[in-house]
């Protein structure tokens, strides 16, 4: 039986992955001791730390990182956006290591998403923000947006991308960012911009690009090397993100999803 290793399985995408691939054994790996998913018969759970990821990955058919914390490369927003600003100027919302004294700013995690509710304000209002989770902090221009759109998928080489463009109707922010409601759309301009970005970075692996519609047009607000909780919807839309990547495959428009609250009992993972 095919084995999928889900690294950082405390994320919402873990149960999405397990539900989408019921014929595979999906191993939830997390350093948290309480996880959702114990009712899914194809799920096994393992307590481990990011340092153990390479060893665990050796015996899996697919490795799906669900949080950038579990990846060894440098995917920090500050680094990625710096590269993109040079390669594709004007496409990204600017990132700062410290909030300038004027303007409104939103706080983000640099190396991975900062947990909990988003914080925004001017420099004075953000003066107390610290980094207890070690994700690194960056500050991004906070502007009114009229839409949020995500490009989610996996790229293996130039011309080899599985991708879906998802209009986000609602996202909720707790420990994890929850994709609450969205729908895949047909957006050729955004598709091409997303592929340009992935090519400029020569990114290999999973990705989520976060786009926001501003008064000045679409701007990239985030890049993370992970997928989101879209696996079932993307399969319905004709794209297997985990499958062999040989061309550009695009998820059909009109795939709708919500996040349903689910209650299951748990056993604490041994530490």
């Amino acid at each position: 039986m095919t084995t999928i290793l889900a690294l950082g399985a405390e994320k919402q995408a873990a149960t999405s992955l397990a539900a989408a691939y019921p014929d595979c054994t999906v191993i939830f790996v997390s350093d948290r001791d309480i996880l959702d998913g114990s009712d899914l018969i194809n799920v096994r759970m393992v307590h481990a730390r990011p340092a153990d990821a390479a060893k665990l990955a050796a015996s899996a058919d697919h490795v799906v990182p669900l949080c950038a914390r579990w990846l060894p490369g440098n995917y920090a927003l500050s680094t990625v956006f710096d590269r993109l600003e040079r390669a594709l100027p004007g496409l990204c919302l600017p990132i700062r290591m410290h909030p300038p004294s004027s303007g409104q700013w939103i706080v983000k995690g640099d190396r991975w998403s900062r947990p909990d509710a988003p914080l925004s304000g001017d420099a004075r209002q953000l003066a107390d923000v610290t980094d207890p989770h070690g994700c690194g902090l960056v500050f991004q221009v906070y502007s009114e947006t009229t839409a949020t759109i995500m490009s989610v998928g996996r790229r293996e080489h130039v011309g080899g991308v599985h991708i879906g463009i998802l209009k986000i109707f609602q996202e909720r922010f707790f420990r994890d960012a929850i994709l609450q409601a969205g729908e895949t759309i047909d957006a050729p301009e955004l598709l091409h911009a997303s592929i340009d970005i992935l090519d400029a970075l020569d990114h290999r692996g999973y990705f989520t690009l976060n786009w926001v519609q501003t008064d000045e047009g679409l701007r990239l607000s985030s890049f993370r090397p992970i997928p989101r909780a879209v696996f079932q919807s993307f399969l319905r839309g004709g794209v297997d993100i985990l499958g062999s990547v040989s061309a550009v495959k695009i998820v059909a428009a009109g795939m709708r999803l919500i996040a349903s609250p689910t209650y299951v009992s748990f056993e604490r993972l041994s530490t």
Partner: protein, 337 residues
Amino acid sequence: MKNVLVLSGTASAINYIKSFANDPDIRLHITDADPYCPGLYAPGVTPHVVPRARDTMRYRASLDRLLVEHAIDVLIPTSDYDIEGVVHYLKDGWVPNVAMFRPPFNAFAVLGNKGRLMAYLAQRLPSVVPQTWIGVERVRQLAFPVVIKPAGESGGKDVTIVRYHDDFAAAVERIRALYGDEFLVQQFIPGNTYIVSMIYDHDGRLVIGVPMRSHLTFFTWGGGGCAGEVVDEPGLVRLCAEVAEAAGGWSGPINFEWRKHAETGAFYLMEANCRLNGYSYLTTMNGVCLPHIVLALLTGAPLPAVAPPARRNRNFVLGFRETPVDRWVDHAERIVA
């Protein structure tokens, strides 16, 4: 067949939906202002999108229409905003022809606002009240850490724990930008969060109280629970009953959130919410179906049997699972009054 209208489609409404949706004797109607709210897409429900409850005139008109058009027999508000709206309508003379709880307005005015509740109880049950400051003029007297929270929200929304005096001004600036002066500063109580969900009958008699404890919170710093278990704490239920009585009594569901001090073991009241708690489905998982108790009290049916405390041993973790849907709730189901 009873037409039951549950206001709101998330948090505590999930317990009602999971408990009622497959009952052949109930036609379950769910409302929410958010057309993407998960409860609207639960199997077996009739969804309605309504104006926001704080848009009071339009919301009330849409409720009146729904009650008539769908011959609603039972009305159950489940979110803080819905309850606030309904309680105010009742005070203003609203007399809908449905079975519903009509809690005393004065008690709601105390219980539904953290600042007022703390000030009120400081005189009557001071041992359960964390030190609380409304306004920041007396900040020099604070012993850090403290918690800054909006007076009228719940679930950890826009709460900040401030550990050092130097960080206090920024946190106050931030909450003031959102809520003006409607916030309070409170002593931080280290320890676990407990919740007691209770149901009072029409005459203000306590029917049941179920204590629960969180193992995991929505936010890394705390907030509402997303994993937990039922516990046997009869003393805590009695404490809740004292709080409700001190506030003027209650009718219907209500929950009280507490922190058990990690060092002293003393319980401190954090807030009251005039509804079942967000994860009250845990009680249903454990053989205590609070929604069916609510329904029985509203319809005059016999109260359902409940499992004894010793058998309430299932814990829970809350997940938010990707669920494909075929269509969004369409305009025909959107009630705009």
